[in-house]
């Protein structure tokens, strides 16, 4: 187990280097002049050259990358071209927002998917089951941005149940706090939940239907266990490995969906930061983008390792160490 974790972390580090390297290579081919961030649009070539030199973007791209790696090994992600603030402080401000959306949304997703999946698995092939299934499959076709904008226009503007867009920190003072935090994030959570619900509800339904015919469930019923007990003790715990693995795989997808959810509800998360870093009139704020890429990759790697450990703890038949790199 320990050896497995060490190996996973090492391959994970390799992945972070590969991802950031590709990011550098891709952005190296984009014609951009970050020096304008410092000088403004009205500038002379000499000023521009000096600004480029100050930012360090006049050096070859591989030197810039090695410089970035050197900084990263010391826990320093560089400074933004646009604002001059350290990337780590930009990310420290934006990450709680995105984490709130994704983690809260994931909790809502798991609860809803369990309710729907187990509910329809207990009444298989009834009208209820088939209608729910058909509706859910159509949910695959809903774009999070469109869903978010529709929810916002209905529940913020038409029927004012939710506060207008924006973010309220969980540990904020004054009008902000746990209650305001949840109120501001309720609609983003629902949007996030609807985005992944179809697949999760369907997988849970299939799994529960399969588990209900397993010998240990039949034995439990024969010994007189109530249906509620069968479900609680003999079926639901066995869903943990599947759910953990699925959630880990979807971390990357979730962070991508978060870009659209953040845009719909004007939340200042890391997706918004990455977008803002790419839409300036003058070019691309590479340090911010690479910082976000690093954060996303780290989240993906950590969640995959955690999911593997949870799966192995929940189901002793899964032997973690015998799996390959993945």
């Amino acid at each position: 187990m320990a050896g497995y974790i060490v190996r996973r972390i090492l391959t994970g580090l390799l992945m972070i280097f590969a991802l950031t390297l590709i990011t550098y290579l891709v952005f190296a081919t984009v014609p951009a002049d970050p020096g304008i961030y410092l000088t403004g649009l009205r500038t002379t070539p000499a000023q521009l050259k000096a600004a480029d030199h100050a930012l360090g973007v006049d050096r070859p791209i591989y030197i810039q990358y090695l410089h970035f790696v050197q900084g990263m090994l010391q826990g320093n992600l560089g400074t933004s071209y646009a604002s001059g603030t350290p990337v780590s402080s930009i990310i420290r401000a934006a990450l709680p927002v995105t984490a709130s959306i994704v983690i809260g949304g994931a909790v809502l997703l798991v609860v809803t998917a369990l309710l729907i999946g187990v509910g329809s698995a207990l009444r298989p092939h009834t009208l209820f089951d088939r209608t729910l299934n058909a509706l859910i499959m159509c949910g695959v076709a809903l774009h999070p941005l469109v869903v978010g904008l529709i929810l916002q226009s209905v529940f913020v503007y038409t029927i004012p149940l939710a506060p207008t867009s924006g973010y309220c920190p969980l540990t904020g003072q004054g009008s902000c706090g746990a209650h305001a935090w949840a109120a501001h994030l309720a609609l983003p959570w629902i949007t996030f939940m609807l985005f992944l619900l179809p697949l999760y509800a369907r997988v849970i339904r299939t799994q529960v239907l399969g588990l209900l015919t397993e010998p240990h469930v039949v034995a439990a019923r024969a010994k007189g266990a109530s249906e509620a007990r069968v479900l609680r003790v003999h079926v639901l715990p066995l869903l943990i490995p599947t759910l953990a693995t699925m959630l880990a795989i979807d971390v990357s997808t979730s962070l991508m969906a978060a870009i659209y959810i953040e845009a719909a509800f004007a939340l200042p998360g890391i997706g918004t930061q990455a977008l803002q870093a790419q839409v300036g009139f003058v070019g691309l704020d590479l340090p911010v983008i690479v910082g976000v890429v690093t954060v996303v990759a780290t989240a993906v790697i950590i969640s995959n390792v955690v999911a593997d450990i949870i799966a192995a703890k929940a189901d002793p038949r899964i032997v973690v160490a015998r799996r390959t790199f993945s």
Binding site: M15, A141, L149, I150, M256, A263, Q276, V296, T324, F325
Partner: protein, 333 residues
């Protein structure tokens, strides 16, 4: 055969029989066929009948920056000032301030969007099943390397880098149209999306191959001296098709949404070429502009029409795939 009725029916025929009697499958399948015909056959026919294309601009279709509404007759005229007679029927009105035929753009846009989704799905399934088969069958170090590449592709933040990638990749390759078979920009976007969605089929295929390779019939084939290629081709591959069809339909639906996602970032198919994502993005605006707080009318015809087109087509595809899965595996649930 003296008595055909007693002849055994194969796996695929049995599945087809079940599918044919499934009302949901018939409904979603018919909807897909109708959409395909409308876009690929209906669009050029309608354009010929109306006498203008999806990009023809009608100056009379816009009054005070407001496009004409549903079912309007518009006098033929164009900005070049030539004298033209007669009127044109705009079934769904005009497409915003430019003054093009929304209905024709919807049909032509469907072509581009469906081509992207189909192409990306085909590419993704091909790469994914090839790599998944290799990883599952060969195992060991090959499996390890492919697993790492799979995780790499899964962790790659495509949308975060879409703007930069769009600037470098799509512009350069959007002129490839396979001799006019597909709209400009479709091929590069399809390849681009295909390269990033293959991990999903790859994981499925790998697990399935791991299981198949231990089955008695594969062992028997190996025992009588079949080569690795023969075993993969005749004993493993046929078992992969049924498990690939349902995820392929979901990938089709997802890539339709991704096409819209890319348009919303301003790096999708060129806005002048009609596509559903582009039509939607031209109304909702690019994500980067959303933050400016411009209000959007979500109930406007120009938002609802492409949204419904995407919703119905992608939803029907996902539902159809689900019903195919049930028909292929009646013991499963």
């Amino acid at each position: 055969m003296a008595n055909d009725r007693l002849a055994g029916r194969g796996y695929w025929r049995l599945a087809w029989g079940r599918l044919r009697h499934d009302p949901l499958a018939v409904a979603s399948g018919s909807l897909l066929v109708i959409v395909f015909f409308a876009c690929f056959v209906g669009a050029p026919l309608l354009a010929a009948a109306l006498g203008h294309g999806p990009d023809t601009i009608f100056s009379n279709a816009v009054h005070d920056f407001r496009p004409v509404g549903l079912w309007t007759r518009v006098p033929n005229a164009n900005y070049t000032g030539e004298h033209v007679t007669g009127t044109t029927l705009m079934v769904l009105g005009a497409d915003g301030t430019v003054g093009r035929d929304e209905f024709l753009r919807l049909l032509y846009g469907g072509r581009a969007t469906i081509e992207v989704a189909l192409g990306a799905t085909l590419i993704g399934v091909t790469i994914g099943s090839a790599l998944g088969t290799l990883a599952g069958y060969l195992g060991g170090r090959v499996d390890g390397v492919i697993a790492w590449v799979t995780n790499f592709a899964l962790a790659f933040p495509v949308l975060l880098m879409a703007i930069a990638l769009g600037a470098t990749v799509s512009d350069r390759y959007s002129r490839y149209t396979l001799n006019g078979l597909v709209e400009p920009g479709v091929l590069s976007l399809a390849v681009f999306l295909g390269v990033f969605i293959w991990p999903y089929p790859a994981r499925l295929v790998r697990v399935q191959v791991l299981e198949l390779r231990e089955r008695p019939f594969v062992e028997a084939a190996r025992m009588i001296g079949s080569g690795r290629r023969r075993i993969l081709r005749t004993h493993i591959f046929p078992h992969l098709i049924p498990i690939l069809i349902p995820p392929a339909t979901i990938m089709f639906a997802t890539t339709m949404l991704l096409e819209a996602s890319f348009s919303m970032l301003g790096v999708g198919i060129d806005p002048n070429t009609a596509s559903w994502g582009g039509m939607l993005a031209s109304q909702i605006g690019w994500l980067t502009a959303l933050a400016s707080g411009e209000s959007i009318s979500l109930t406007s015809r120009l938002v609802v029409v492409p949204s419904l087109a995407v919703l119905l087509t992608a939803g029907a595809a996902a539902l159809f795939g689900e019903q195919i899965r049930k028909a292929l595996d009646p013991t499963g649930v």
